[in-house]
Symmetry: C2
Subunit: 450 residues, 2 copies
């Protein structure tokens, strides 16, 4: 149906698209653009035409006509017949420069670049706003799973209290495999690399940098507050041992690398929310024990899932493939159709919303439950002494289990919610105790009290 009042974009006037980068995702984006051009035209209202693809080496055979390939991304972005730029190169530069150039020329941008968005959304969103251009980035978090759009749009009238997600497929693959096979971290990482689930240099995934960037994006959207990667407390999975997963199993839990974004109360000494003090936002990525009956525990292999808890909506969960060429391309194409429709109908993507400006709570102030595993001397009074050390630091114990072990005993302590700094002080004090032989593991516990 033609809209008589729409802007002057003609029904046959093509909407030109430039794709920057032709790795896994770019290849799939280009394939879908070419294979489904009729569907895309019907859904947009005007033809969507691929103008060119910026690549590093144009001599590789990609099954594309030579005239579509270029090494000059800047010139491609600047072309008069390019209306929308899809950036799937990754990394900060040149994507930052290219995206800014596109936005400043009034072109809309679709990107899957979590690292860039985690640090530069403010700058990019401002350029989009100034130039009345769209900036879409559904593909930056959790691949094909719609999470960005639901947070920006569907929950726009709600108050999100918490977002907890498994947003990195590599680490989830490794932890799932360790859980299933009982194998060590190093062995499992090698297998993941062999199968293509981990990159040759797995640091960004296994040390939690990738998840931290996504957590920053999710927290920004959920709390209408600008959160950057530097605001995210981050621990990776490289120290998780086969024994940790054994311990988890004994507790009917598994271990997951979680991205957690939540509202927390104002800190000690500050006025409470009720007293007019501001709430704060805590954003963190770390491996944690998750009870097997929790919905996130069932998310295995390279899958992703995000749980959103909102005041009125209650608990929502989104599940699917969080990475891979075709799934990520699906999210890119959804954004591309929306950006193209906006060109045709004169609409606009929602801009950045950071009006709440909540302060970031340091990790030391963040309340979490802990599971502490100790090797202790097997003599009377040790349990009481250990419990006393927790009490002295204000950490309340939920359960203690003592297991005889011949030469010594093992204590398994699960705490109530305690702030990180209090737990750290407790652990330091325990390490000094004569009757404590060793602290086998300290794991955070999530998803136990709802």
């Amino acid at each position: 149906m033609t809209d008589p009042a729409r802007n002057t974009w003609g029904r046959d006037q093509p909407i030109g698209v430039a794709v920057l980068g032709m790795g896994n995702v770019g290849t799939e984006v280009v394939r879908i653009l070419r294979d489904h051009s009729e569907d895309l035209r019907s859904r947009v209202g005007a033809p969507v035409v691929l103008r060119g693809v910026a690549v590093r080496n144009p001599d590789n055979d990609r099954g594309l006509p030579a005239h579509l390939l270029t090494t000059d991304a800047d010139a491609l972005v600047a072309r008069d017949d390019v209306d929308i730029v899809v950036e799937v190169i990754g990394g900060i530069d040149p994507p930052r420069r290219l995206i800014l150039a596109a936005l400043n020329a009034g072109k809309s941008v679709v990107t899957a670049n979590k690292a860039l968005l985690a640090d530069y959304t403010g700058e990019l969103a401002a350029a989009a706003e100034r130039n009345r251009a769209d900036l879409y980035f559904e593909a930056a978090v959790a691949g094909a799973i719609p999470v960005v759009r639901p947070l920006i749009q569907s929950l726009a009238g709600d108050r999100v209290n918490r977002v907890v997600g498994i947003v990195n497929g590599t680490t989830n693959f490794i932890l799932s495999a360790m859980d299933e096979t009982g194998a060590d971290y190093e062995v499992t990482l090698k297998e993941a690399t062999r199968l293509g689930y981990a990159e040759a240099d797995p640091t960004a995934d296994v040390e939690g940098y990738d998840a931290a960037a996504k957590a920053a994006i999710l927290a920004s959207l959920a709390f209408h507050t600008r959160v950057t990667a530097a605001d995210v407390f981050r621990e990776g999975i490289s120290k998780i041992s086969a024994e940790d997963l054994e311990t988890a199993s004994a507790l009917n839990c598994t271990v997951k690398l979680l991205a957690i974004c939540e509202r927390v109360a104002a800190g000690p000494g500050e006025p409470t929310v009720a007293e007019g003090g501001k709430e704060r936002v805590s954003v963190r990525v770390y491996p944690a024990l998750v009870p097997r009956k929790h919905p996130l525990a069932a998310v295995s292999g390279a899958f992703n899932a995000v749980v959103v808890e909102a005041e009125n909506a209650g608990r929502l969960m989104f599940y699917g493939q969080g990475a891979g060429g075709a799934p990520t391309a699906s999210a890119v194409l959804g954004d591309l159709v929306m950006a193209a429709r906006n060109k045709f109908y004169g609409g606009r993507a929602p801009g950045e919303s950071v009006y709440a400006e909540l302060p970031i709570a340091p990790i030391g102030d963040t309340p979490t439950r802990y599971h502490v595993n100790l090797q202790v001397a097997d003599r009377p009074g040790v349990l009481a002494a250990v419990a006393g050390e927790f009490a002295k630091h204000g950490v309340s114990i939920s359960t203690v289990r003592q297991e005889g072990h011949g030469t010594g005993a093992r204590l398994v302590v699960v705490t109530h919610h305690a702030v990180e700094s209090a737990l750290a002080d407790t652990v330091a004090a325990l390490a000094e105790m004569d009757s404590v032989t060793s602290i086998t593991s300290v794991l955070r516990l999530e998803g136990t009290e709802e």
Copy 2:
């Protein structure tokens, strides 16, 4: 940040909202509008002001100033200072008349009315398009769970092959309870009514009308084809017995009322898709056996979940609260903020997309797997005779299990995919066999072959 190029809506110019209906959902919408006006203002860019609420009886105390209540919904919709109309009355009339009046006056509409949308989306969408107004309806399907927006927007560049959902909380509550307690349908329905999970007249829920309306909406969005409630094959849960759930358990399955929307091949005698024939769309609602390990089997109580399978995105799942005042209001408010932002920034909601115009496949042509439970005479050759009857009608058997039962035997037959008409013919023929004492149950089986 101010957009210098946005339209002439002023930063302090209020966006007026009329709410039609003040039941469970309307009450929550009004509460959020009043309690969170500052947040809403920040998210929209301009103040969002409640102009009035249309109710049937203005004398009931609702804690609202009297001047906000009116029985004259038409006059409220027509007010010059009303820019957005929220319809949460339900049913076809007066909502249809009121929504058309609003759209024809260029006002945007947010509705949760699945029954109306299932039959009149074409008419309403055309009015919205003509008048450059928005029609949003996220709350019409699966309450707070974002499903409508992901299908319209996030998957706009993908090809959806299948949508399967649990979209009615009442029936899911009843089936979950029957599964847990072993109680009969009638007993469980009474308990659900007592607890407020079923209405005094539960017909719309238990006979599948509510789910069928939602299925029509989902199928329309997924396949870019107009599907109305009359196109949906529908069976309710009122004939499900305690014995059916027992049978399900023995097969490591449970029973769920599913809404299934899928692309199916062109019918017998028609050219196949490969030959240039059109695919068809099958939309159906019925109780089915679902393996316990399938993600939908774990959706219990009044919760909803929708699984979407798309060519590139793969399998996505959305889970949450599908009904209730606050969750549904959350979806309404999300739409309201988007409609208000569009007023302020000059954007547009995506219109109806029905370009594909796929034909609807009759249920007789739809391939499904079946579980057939027979009481048979305990004598040699019966199994062979029964199996022969399936083969004669072209229904291929996956497994047969025979259980001795003293005076007779029980045969449990699970088929491969077969079209409904072939199965119906088979069952009719089985009923005529001397050696078949009775057909205890015929249940469809979903979610077994992916």
